[in-house]
Amino acid sequence: MNPLTATAVGKRYRTRWAVRDCSFAIPEGKVVALVGPNGAGKSTLLRMAAGLVRPTTGELRTFDTPVNGRIHPDVSFLAQNRSLYRDLTVRELTRAVAAMNDRWSADRVREVLGLLAGVDYDAKVGTLSAGALTQVAIAMALGRLPRLLLLDEPLSDLDPLARDETLRIIMTEVADRGTTVVMSSHLLSDLREVCDHILLIDGGRVQVDGDIEEVLARHRILVGPVAEESTVEGTLVSATRTERQATLLLREARPAPEGWAGTEPDLESLVMGYLRASRERRSSA
């Protein structure tokens, strides 16, 4: 059973489609990087999965149940604005959130907050640093003992130490409970090392979806003479060209012909290639 599936999901705000015709299935136990530029539709997609926004078209399912205006009990969502009660202390907040949830593990919350260097339970939530605020919010999300954790930009605004601590909390959750995680960022570098699955969206549409190693293994970057581009076999994703040299990103490429050098792309080049292609399609549409 897939923790999260989308079938032809779209969301229109007035005249603009924030998400358009998105279909994918997240396999259980994966740590998914939901990446794309600002405004790509990442937050809208996560908010729809959490039941906060209704899709205009199509359907999202969490654990095989249609998301219908409410969050599935096995799903936790960290909103980008970390909407917490800012006037409460951390201790009061913990009690309040506990009271709102049928299934709740105070032990788990204590354990997660215990991983941090000195969270003050008597501090007002509104006075916490960006890092501590995010970590407290994640602790609340984990108190629900989710099987699917949706995190919207969990690492934005965090200093390197807080970022490392936050990743440690999330990865420890995966190691301990096998939780499926979907986390978004507009910075691929934030997620590159901790994710095993990529969902790249741009212009509201899915551009790349799959296990990162498998996706990379299916692609090649070929560099060679512009004049002999026709000798290259494979599906062209995108290309950059100078007067003499062509650099091609190909899917299902055949071995490089004589005079061409082929390498497996790194994830950054692959993502850039797809984003370039998506831009070109939109500007020519």
């Binding site: 740590v31 440690r168 420890t172 901790v194 990162i212 190693e213």
Partner: protein, 136 residues
Amino acid sequence: MLTDVIEFRIDRRSGVSTYMQIVQQVKQAMRLGLLHPGDRLPSAREVVEATAVNPNTVLKAYRELEREGLVEARRGLGTFVTKSLSSEATIGDDAPLRQELTGWMGRAQQGGLLVEDVDALYSAVRDEHYPAEERA
């Protein structure tokens, strides 16, 4: 409590995937005689605590090592080294091949070669003798 035998160093700038870095570092440690048959590899949880990488990646690297017959997962106990990769040829500072390489490296340094030059030369000669297709 078992003490950790090795610790992974994940270089996020290297361009080599975390998965591959773990596989390579285990093999490297086995070749250098730092890991022996019977040694337990750090658990995914322990690696996560030390380096904040994805535990799935650690397990995937261990599965690959298991597929290659180098380690064995024992349910509830951990993953253990089952094979030795070290030999007279690679172990210790006085191994003959190592001494030859040390001499070569010294001459390269005296000749004013930069580390990039040394890496390029080494990779070129290595690839002549061990073509990439055969290594994979």
